[in-house]
Symmetry: C2
Subunit: 312 residues, 2 copies
Amino acid sequence: MSGHVLALSGGVGGAKLAFGLARVLDAGQLTIIANTGDDFRHLGLAISPDLDTLMYTLAGLADPIRGWGRHEETWNCLEALRQLGGDTWFRLGDRDLALHLERSHRLAAGESLSAVTDGLRRRLGITAEIAPMTDDPVRTKVRTDQAWLDFQDYFVRRRCEPVVREIAYEGATTARPSAALQRGLTGHTLRAIVLCPSNPLLSIEPILSLPGVRSMLAARTVPVLAVSPLIGGQAVKGPTAKILRELGLAVSNATIAERYAGLIDALIVDEADADFSAPAGMQLLTAPILMNCAADRVHLAATLLAAADRLR
Amino acid sequence: MSGHVLALSGGVGGAKLAFGLARVLDAGQLTIIANTGDDFRHLGLAISPDLDTLMYTLAGLADPIRGWGRHEETWNCLEALRQLGGDTWFRLGDRDLALHLERSHRLAAGESLSAVTDGLRRRLGITAEIAPMTDDPVRTKVRTDQAWLDFQDYFVRRRCEPVVREIAYEGATTARPSAALQRGLTGHTLRAIVLCPSNPLLSIEPILSLPGVRSMLAARTVPVLAVSPLIGGQAVKGPTAKILRELGLAVSNATIAERYAGLIDALIVDEADADFSAPAGMQLLTAPILMNCAADRVHLAATLLAAADRLR
């Protein structure tokens, strides 16, 4: 099969599947749209955690243990910053800093986040297109038992400790989907759309909340598949399970299926969750969805694409 | 003797004498005013080369070989920036970056350069006051045989290769001397004013060109002493000799004396230059002015202060 694949992704889990898709597809056949709701400014730098994780993962530069930032990283700037009394709660590695400096500098010079990202991913030798969901500011905010918090404040500084009551995507209703996202959703040569195994509420729904995206997705004629971020009622990584519970949602594929109802044709769950019954109108597919190594990522991507082609 | 000492300084040579003065004087007895004509923005960062060199030198963090930046430095951010296609002609070390990030961040938040500098030097354990000559932007520009160039463009990117025709201090006539400089020049407990062995045209005259500074200096009742940046008709470091020649000035203490005529009571030259005759109204003092180690710096500072006290 030929044709283009559009993947919507958050950070770590989504980036692993995106890596697999990039390995399975030819250059020019994959567009990865990153959530930018987690973006923020820190020490004057424009930081885009999900775009960064995608770029580092696809370029083979990601740290496999830490789950964020670059491998073979050093922390000398951070250590010096600590001595100067600067903010060090967000851990910026020396090599990672280069990306933030270059992006911030180009944004300040008037380039769009899409243009900057495209330039950077090319310099990193990534052949898949990587683009932000929008060039406009969208900021995920978390209402907790304490206060409304910026996402990175909640996620990194407070280590997801406050109890989550509500999540909002500030700016989403007026932000314009990026050119890559619009092209991906309306292009005629599309083969499939993939919702990567990221947290639906924190990573995928910010993208879906942009004007027109849900309706374009609902109107699509190509298969839309989602991969669950849960295995055996637990999140593979991150605070997904805790947040679902705190919002009164079951930590189960039923919740994932409900969030994506009407938007996807098939949900791929882990083989361990084969007893799950998908709601009407949604196919259930099982596959090993834990991606421990590059081979796992490639295997899941190939399985997903084969399933998409059967759904056409 | 007690009383306060005000030192006007550029980078390397000036910082060495400032280090010596800080060792000889008690805490609270020394104010060092830095030239900020070399300041510039790079990758969105506010960089103040002379303030940085002064802080690193007085904190014992300066690299003794390179003559700029921090010792035990690493260059991982710069290397990553090179991979991303970023500007790398100005070499920012990983540890050095912290200072620029923190300063830029605080300036953007509305703090003055004076306030930021005072906070940073205290964090670095420096008891001498270090302050910029002004909180307003002054930019040294160099007219060369090619074009008017920003100073760092001339100095670092083009390695002082273009021929200098003219030097200007953009913004100097409207910039306000910093509070520390005004206090230093008009304070009643002043013991001496020192023009450090920096390039007169690039480091000291930008300070002198600020409104009121020359007249306040001329009206002072305390001794003003300058240390020559030349030894045996050569600059100890940097492009001073080349620039003097290109501007049609002799590379000699006569030129230094002429630049400072009417402003200083005494010029300290190296023992190797004892045959120099100072102009009328200016005392000539000789001392070993090459500062290869901490002891040299302390010795020159002590010699200078003793001379100043004799001049009172």
